[in-house]
Symmetry: C2
Subunit: 264 residues, 2 copies
């Protein structure tokens, strides 16, 4: 730690700019804050790491990336959290090849329209990762994937599977149809229950905005509106939870078909 350079004013300025979407878009960089998250980052996309002077771990020293130190008070200002853990990494955005992803055999994609809340977006990505989805596509107009809160809510899952942002969903849906990949949209007025759909074939699930659901425009493009049964008195369920139930019904069908050694 003693031989680390103090973070320069240029770096401090860059990190502050990376707290805005404009700054992240200009530099094509983003911040991943916290110990667990830093450990999840593929090493080749780390631009540099900043640690607080009183951070006592050393695992990052073997990453072969630039590391700067900052006084405790400076780190607190850089941090986006109430109780900073004392480490953050500035990373390059991963670039994935959409054509390659669209050619995956028997794929399962998650499509998101206008998700507003960073916590919900991060949580749904984490669920999609756990459930072995092949990719996530996020529409234009959704909250930024590289927002600090979203990044933290993914718990590292944004490094685990291809995620495409700023997607024109109507264009994507046409592409999916060309490849015979069905699009099932979660909708309170769905004509079928999720349990009556065959998700074992190539498919995509489409999840809409927390408050307003999917837009009518995009519903017209989908193959089928499907719903989660709610025999109780609640009129709706939380967006992240609904997304999780929908995504896991796909996993359940595929998991039971593939057998328990799947990915074993």
């Amino acid at each position: 730690m003693d031989n680390l350079l103090y973070v320069s004013s240029r770096i401090l300025k860059q990190i502050n700019l990376l707290k805005t979407k404009k700054g992240r878009d200009n530099f094509n960089l983003f911040i991943a804050e916290g110990e667990r998250l830093t450990k999840e980052i593929p090493k080749d996309i780390i631009e540099y790491i900043v640690v607080s002077e009183n951070y006592d771990k050393t695992f990052y020293l073997k990453y072969n990336v630039k590391v700067y130190k900052a006084s405790s008070s400076v780190f607190k200002k850089l941090s986006d959290t109430v109780n900073p853990q004392g480490i953050l990494a500035v990373c390059r955005k991963n670039v994935y090849n959409i054509n390659k992803v669209l050619n995956i055999h028997n794929p399962f994609f998650v499509l998101l329209e206008n998700i507003n809340d960073p916590g919900n977006l991060g949580t749904i990505i984490r669920t999609a990762d756990a459930a072995y989805a092949d990719a996530v596509f996020i529409s234009k107009g959704s909250v930024d994937l590289f927002n600090g809160k979203t990044v933290r809510a993914t718990m590292g899952s944004l490094f685990h599977l291809p995620i495409f942002t700023d997607i024109d969903l109507s264009y994507l849906i046409n592409k999916l149809k060309e490849k015979n990949i069905k699009i099932y949209a979660a909708h309170l007025n769905g004509s079928k229950y999720i349990y009556d759909v065959d998700f074992k074939k190539s498919c995509s699930v489409l999840i809409g905005n927390e408050a307003n659901g999917l837009s009518d425009f995009i519903c017209d493009f989908t193959d089928e509106l499907v719903k989660i049964p709610m025999p109780g008195k609640a009129e709706s369920i939380n967006a992240s939870v609904a997304g999780g139930i929908f995504i896991y019904e796909v996993l359940r069908q595929r998991f039971l078909q593939e057998g328990y050694n799947w990915k074993g």
Copy 2:
């Protein structure tokens, strides 16, 4: 609105006391804030309603309960939210008969141990309601059900099904065993997948703390530890989402058995 009394200093003091667990326990009252939530409250448990002077709806006038008005600035101080909607209700806590609930035919109960986050607790209760669970039991040491944030996160579901708080889980589990109601605990090291359990029989699902999962102590009391498959790279999923997937697997099995006219 003009003929409403202004809220007295006694009422103002009571509402402020109701923002603490101690105050809620002393008065046996709690606050439900917001228009949608107020509409969900069973009318017979409303103690009184307070509206902001500039609140322009009148639906509450037909409830036959005491209504006070407050100036906009006073209401803002009473409110627990950043953008107050201008209405809150003070309610008596509902009392449910535990023995009656334990005697429900072929029940499905949700048991929660040490849930810390009001948003998670509210969200899981909302999911349990949607999935037609018969009751929710919340352990001692969990966040208070009657915390303003929890109440709001339930979106009214706390008025829809019996919820028991401050529960000694080991005592409850013994009671459930006496009645042949199985207890399945969500656990990362479960010996079975949720899809391999028969939830159509009398059962309870037990969900643990967000960060630490279930305590070893309580796991020893349960019939079986069961897990959600995670074939992807994520090591865990969000607590509310995991709870939702677990609860909905029970619903799925019962729903498909009962047929689509269930509760029709």
